[in-house]
């Protein structure tokens, strides 16, 4: 049964190929069926494999299915294989199950769009690539999935290609991650050179035995690989693409830019945590960067008016939390937050999509209002998601995972914990700013009703968001350790719990944030903020703190300048000079061919004399 694991990525891939080839020839409904069912089947299979796993874990708590030899050369080899261990198991569950519900949602959300089949083809391809990424046994295979998800993200962000802006956003997302990927590629190259293979377990064993902790090479390699992860996960300083990527359809944002792809960086670090442990400096860097990201995302989230941008910054921030966990070595906590974030952020995006579906794709929160009664389902779903995101105690999974995570951070570094708490407070403020603005106050008109393909995903995800957290609870809530026990074989034991005053502060911060948001909603501050033209500082925050402008100045403009200067191929011009010289000589020489006999005789005579003299006097 474990051997059927190859079907998990293969099914969505087959769906993508099928949809790609048949494309326009099949009815839209069939395209949706193919798209959703292929992922659904993969999800079912993943669940079955997981159940079998829990019933009887294979020896060594890992199962490797080698598929075929990719490259075998004297000094380098790579085998394509799929590796199931607790980490990848959790991730394939997250990807395929959430993926399935998002497909389902998409089927209704995208109805009537041009390129319906193309959409599902991309989405299936994305799921396949993402599954390959997490199942890969070899870094090079992982890199295939890694770039594959990047391309799918590019294609899906630019799905509505006729808008110039979408194309630019899509390009930006791809280029920025590509820059990061190149760093990762160089890291991979170093590993390949050092170990002759990129098989993950071989590399990790080799690294441990070859490199003492804190030495130079692991730091370089881990740093380079980390850059790749930071790019994919939209962490400072490579975060700029994520808000723009919201140009894609909302279910895409839910799947790619919230639940799965953007967490690939976290997965990478977790997968290679043995290597990262050899590079404590890099881990410190991760933690520091993560803290920055958390703060930046929270501040930027406060001033966004586009609901998807609010969510985008919240994603950035939540992944920042995960990296914060990674920075302190709390792999399990990061994974738990990853899974719980996938659920509630998908829920948030889907419910925001459900809202804008009924508002002609309006995304500005200040153009909404009072939807609490008009769209109760969307409201309920969004509210659950927001509670989870804000980590309101006990209500949703976000609380449990953030609690778990911050507890681990506290144990390592109280200062970072403080940043995390500050972030949690701000998160509460900005997400409930959105909740109050969208769902309360004066109401706007809506039309239509939801079909089952919207209702079901929202309901299921909301229930999951409420229930998932109980897999891992703090001591004062039962101390369940189900999740960390699952991961324990791969990542070591559960982290210690934080003491109760710490937990208390952690619980209080989001509530304070929500309270502030409510107060500002009550006195109309949010609405005024939306109506007023933003000041300099607000614009600075809205634009993601000037990173875009900075990059434009130091990368984009010089590049475009170079392009402009070189456009006409200066080397070509040099060769044209030669050509001109030849033509000039030609013209000069033919001047002498003037047909006059005397001139010719003179030439001959001069030539003769010169020759004779030269011969005689040489």
């Amino acid at each position: 049964m474990m051997r059927d694991i190859w079907l998990v990525p293969a099914l969505p891939l087959a769906g993508a190929v099928l949809l790609g080839l048949l494309g326009g020839k099949i009815p839209a409904r069939l395209a949706a069926v193919i798209g959703a069912s292929s992922v659904g089947l993969a999800a079912a299979l993943a669940i079955r494999i997981a159940l079998l796993w829990f019933a009887a874990p294979p020896p060594g708590d890992a199962f490797l299915l080698p598929l075929w030899t990719w490259i075998t050369l004297p000094k380098f080899s790579a085998v394509v294989g799929l590796l199931i261990d607790p980490v990848s198991l959790v991730l394939i569950l997250v990807i395929s199950v959430i993926g399935f519900f998002i497909h389902l949602f998409s089927a209704e959300y995208m109805e009537g769009e041009n390129g319906y089949a193309r959409y599902f083809a991309y989405l299936n391809l994305f799921v396949a690539s993402m599954l390959l990424l997490v199942l890969a046994n070899d870094l090079l295979v992982m890199f295939v999935g890694w770039e594959g998800v990047g391309v799918c993200s590019y294609l899906l962000v630019g799905f509505w290609f006729e808008e110039e802006n979408n194309g630019e956003a899509a390009q930006k997302s791809f280029i920025v991650t590509r820059v990061a990927d190149i760093a990762m590629l160089i890291g991979i190259l170093i590993l390949a050179l050092r170990f002759g293979t990129l098989d993950i377990s071989t590399v990790l064993h080799g690294a441990v035995s070859a490199w003492p902790p804190g030495s130079f090479w692991p730091a370089v390699v881990a740093g380079l690989l980390l850059v790749g992860g930071l790019g994919k996960s939209a962490q400072v300083p490579l975060q700029t693409w994520l808000p723009d990527a919201m140009a894609g359809p909302t279910p895409v944002s839910a799947l790619i830019h919230a639940a799965t792809m953007v967490t690939a960086g976290v997965y990478l670090v977790v997968r290679l945590h043995v290597l990262f442990l050899l590079a404590p400096a890099v881990l410190h860097g991760i933690a520091l960067g993560a803290a920055l990201t958390v703060l930046l995302a929270a501040c930027a989230g406060l001033v966004q008016s586009d609901i998807k941008r609010v969510l985008a910054y919240s994603t950035m921030g939540q992944i920042g939390y995960m990296f914060l966990g990674l920075g302190v070595g709390a792999w399990g906590a990061a994974m738990f937050h990853l899974a719980s974030h996938a659920i509630f952020k998908a829920l948030l995006f889907l419910s925001s999509g459900a809202v804008s579906m009924r508002l002609h794709h309006e995304q500005n929160i200040f153009a909404m209002g009072g939807l609490r009664t008009k769209l109760p389902l969307a409201f309920a779903a969004f509210l659950v998601g927001a509670l989870c995101l804000a980590a309101v105690p006990v209500v949703g999974c976000g609380f449990f995972s953030k609690e778990f995570l911050l507890g681990a951070v506290w144990a390592q570094n109280p200062l970072l914990w403080g940043v995390g708490i500050l972030g949690a407070f701000l998160t509460g403020v900005y997400i409930f700013r959105a909740v109050f603005t969208v769902f309360f106050g004066a109401s706007v008109d809506v039309s239509g009703a939801y079909g089952v393909r919207v209702i079901l995903p929202l309901t299921v995800l909301a229930l999951a968001a409420l229930g998932f957290g109980w897999l891992q609870t703090p001591d004062f809530l039962g101390g369940a350790n189900i999740f960390s026990n699952v991961l324990a074989p791969a990542l070591g034991g559960a982290a210690t719990d934080a003491s109760w005053p710490v937990a208390l502060i952690g619980m209080a911060a989001p509530l304070a944030g929500i309270g502030l948001a409510y107060a500002l909603h009550q006195n109309g501050f949010w609405r005024r903020q939306g109506a007023a033209s933003p000041g300099l500082f607000v614009r600075f925050l809205q634009g993601g703190m000037g990173f875009d402008a900075l990059y434009r100045a130091i990368f984009v403009k010089p590049f475009l300048w170079t392009v402009r200067v070189l456009k006409d191929d200066p080397v070509d011009q040099v060769f044209q000079l030669l050509q001109r010289a030849a033509v000039g000589l030609h013209k000069r020489l033919r001047e002498e061919q003037n047909g006059k006999l005397r001139r010719y005789a003179g030439w001959m005579m001069a030539g003769s004399l010169a020759t004779i003299l030269a011969v005689v006097f040489s």
Binding site: G23, T69, F76, G115, V144, G167, Q171, I175, L566, V571
Partner: protein, 482 residues
Amino acid sequence: MSLCLLLAIPLLGGCLAWPADRLHPHLPRIISLLALAATLAVALPMLHGTSFWLADFSVPWIPAFGMSFHLGLDGMSWLLTVLTIVLGMFSIVVSWRENVEKIGFFHANLMWSLAGTIGVFLALDLFLFFYFWELMLVPMVFIIAIWGHEDRRIAAIKFFLFTQGSGLLILIGILGLAFLHQRATGVLTFGYFALLGHEPGGAAGFLIMLGLFIAFVVKLAAFPAHVWLPVTHTQAPTAGSVILASILLKTGAYGLLRFVVPLFPTASHTLAPIALWLGVASIFYGAVLAYGQNDFKRLIAYTSISHMGFVLIGVFVCNALAWQGVVFLLIAHGVSTGALFIIVGALQQRLHTRELSRMGGLWGDLPKLSSFGAFFVLAAMGLPGLGNFVGEFLILRGAYGAAPLITILAAIGLVPAALYSLIAIQRAFHGPVREARAIADFGWRENAMMLALAAAIIWLGVYPQPVLDVAAPSISAMGVTP
């Protein structure tokens, strides 16, 4: 003997195709296609040889100079020969519906050019190699000059001058090599094996190597010897562009691999740093200029320059991994760039323009064409899982040990690759529709071609081992460190 067939069938096919258009306009196409199919049928089974040289054929040719008509086939030349034949077939099919004047002569030239190229890949006598080297150009010049686009005259002349002028350096080089060898051993020969291992030392050896290097780099179209390439590729008819980009460029790399490094190990080692930096310069220069182009074909032409920078690096780090990567990249690039030229050719046929500023939003009108276009652009960009990535990765992996800085720069060169790839997709297929058009998408013929090429590039990307296995013996025989 079958080696001679590999040359004779396309040559004769060309001769037959020439007058055949008097009988029926499609006849030259059919004859050419059949001839290439026959050549392929001869070539394919040759892989199952027992020895390292799959086949060998030698008769004296010009005994006065010790030149012989010596053909030989090893794994590397087999791969490139098959690539030539297969892409030759594509280039015939691609113009199937086009209204080509003098269609017989067109196909004759196409076939002769292919025959010359196959000869280049098979020749094991240096002068014979040079003979084919020059021979393959002449029909190509005709193809560009007669059936090219608006600036075909300039393009043909530039192509002719650059490749011929540099070709003379090869002539001087091999003559010098042979005479030096004669002086040392008393035997005048142009045989590859006789000259192998007799590198002339000192300045003479270096200069001879330099001559060959320059000629091959011109053909490879690496910076700064690339200037003939953009205009030539742009102006050639689609079939010509396909052959030029997919096959003819490869002869330059082949020359470097087969002749320059093995014959002059010491001298090429001396030159290697310069060659590597030229490779890096090519990667960036090609990429930056590609980004700035408005002519779609020209853009692709510049991407070729960028990719050939990788090839140059791979060749001159001189180790088996990189060389595997080079051979692999040659094949993958042949397929992906060939496909791109077919696509742009199809676009030009439909839109009567190659200007990107007049495209945009084509995905709506031409979903199939556009998706194939995006696919192959991404393949050319080096998307992992597709053929080009394997080649580039192996080159980088091979190069890293020898020249880390160069490798890192080359890897960074993949970023501008993404830039020009995406801008091409954006300007051609995405974006707002700028001009109203009523045009047909790919038909079944074009779809079939594209699917075949796409399948090939995916196969190369996910299961490259058979190709690597075929090339391995040749590469290990060339005396590079494993």
